[in-house]
């Protein structure tokens, strides 16, 4: 299964997981996703921004313009609600992995 296909449905959880380790702007988030997945998640970079905006509308992340940067840069940070959503996403993923393993290894 290609990285992009496996990512569908889990992008929000992955973004929250990266942000849980530290605030980041969009480009840094995408690079972190690529590096931490050893290049498996090499998704079309533009898809991240609508996902981040959706997470912000849901209250899972907040963002602000970074004042120190020479360019106009939007930095994202996870919220308490976002951490709760991340926990829920982790539990859901663990359940999914268990179920798939049970079928594949049966």
């Amino acid at each position: 299964m290609k990285g992009g296909e496996a990512l569908k449905g889990h992008l929000d959880t992955l973004l929250l997981a990266v942000l849980a380790r530290g605030d980041a702007h969009g480009y840094a988030l995408i690079e972190a996703l690529k590096q931490q997945s050893d290049g498996t998640f090499d998704l079309p970079e533009g898809t991240v921004y609508p996902a981040l905006h959706r997470l912000e509308r849901q209250g899972f992340v907040r963002s602000s313009w970074e004042k120190e940067s020479p360019r106009k840069r939007r930095v994202y940070a996870i919220t308490r609600q976002g951490r709760a959503a991340l926990s829920s996403g982790r539990a859901e993923w663990a359940g999914f992995v268990r179920a798939v393993s049970a079928v594949i290894d049966a």
């Binding site: 480009y27 079309p44 970079e45 898809t47 921004y49 609508p50 959706r54 360019r71 106009k72």
Partner: protein, 202 residues
């Protein structure tokens, strides 16, 4: 015009106004990517072209924004709405508090902050008290109105949805009850509406 300028220009022309923050983010992203590719040895034009390719087609980005739904009102406007809603509801809350205090003190028939007349200056002030919560209700609900792309058999259609968070739902219910209560009280005190006597708790 550079590849980045062309990309950003097309994105700006095709995105709904409420999603225009994405234009700034895309420009910053492309500039960051271009600088990185130049450091890796590409010439500036090649670096820009690669940055644009890796960001993805403008159509895909616009489609992703439309799928997620755009708020009808710009976030710049909706940011202020909860605070304005609070200001609009303050006179009604003060009105309610005075009536409760008078009732607890044993005074028969709360008369409200400004009396209950709807004539003259008192009427204007009571009008503000009465209308304020309805305005607050609109300010609470408006940011939740979204235009979304709905998948149909033949493609996509546009639909208007209202999506409330649990917080917005609670606020809307409480404000609605306050609005109805204050309006009914003022209207009944002035004979516009006749309420059953059993409702007269003052």
């Amino acid at each position: 015009m550079s590849a980045i300028d062309r990309y950003v220009s097309e994105l700006s022309a095709r995105l709904p106004v409420s999603a225009h923050r994405l234009v700034h983010e895309a420009r910053d992203h492309l500039a960051e990517a271009r600088d990185r590719f130049v450091r890796e040895g590409l010439d500036p034009d090649e670096a820009e072209a690669r940055a644009v390719t890796e960001l993805g087609d403008v159509s895909d980005l616009v489609a992703a924004v439309r799928r997620d739904g755009s708020p009808v009102l710009s976030p710049v406007v909706t940011k202020w709405m909860p605070r304005l809603a609070f200001v609009c509801v303050l006179p009604a809350l003060a009105f309610l508090m005075v009536n409760v205090i008078e009732w607890l003190a044993g005074n028969d028939g709360g008369t409200g902050v400004f009396g209950s007349s709807l004539e003259g200056w008192t009427g204007i002030l009571n009008g503000v008290v009465g209308v304020g919560p309805f305005v607050a209700l609109v300010l609470i609900l408006a940011p939740a109105v979204r235009v979304e792309a709905i998948r149909t058999e033949t493609g996509f259609d546009t639909g208007v949805h209202v999506r409330l968070s649990w917080r917005q739902t609670v606020l809307a219910i409480v404000t609605g009850i306050l609005a109805l209560g204050v309006a009914l009280y003022l209207l009944s005190e002035n004979g516009v509406v006749m309420l059953p006597e059993s409702w007269d708790i003052w």
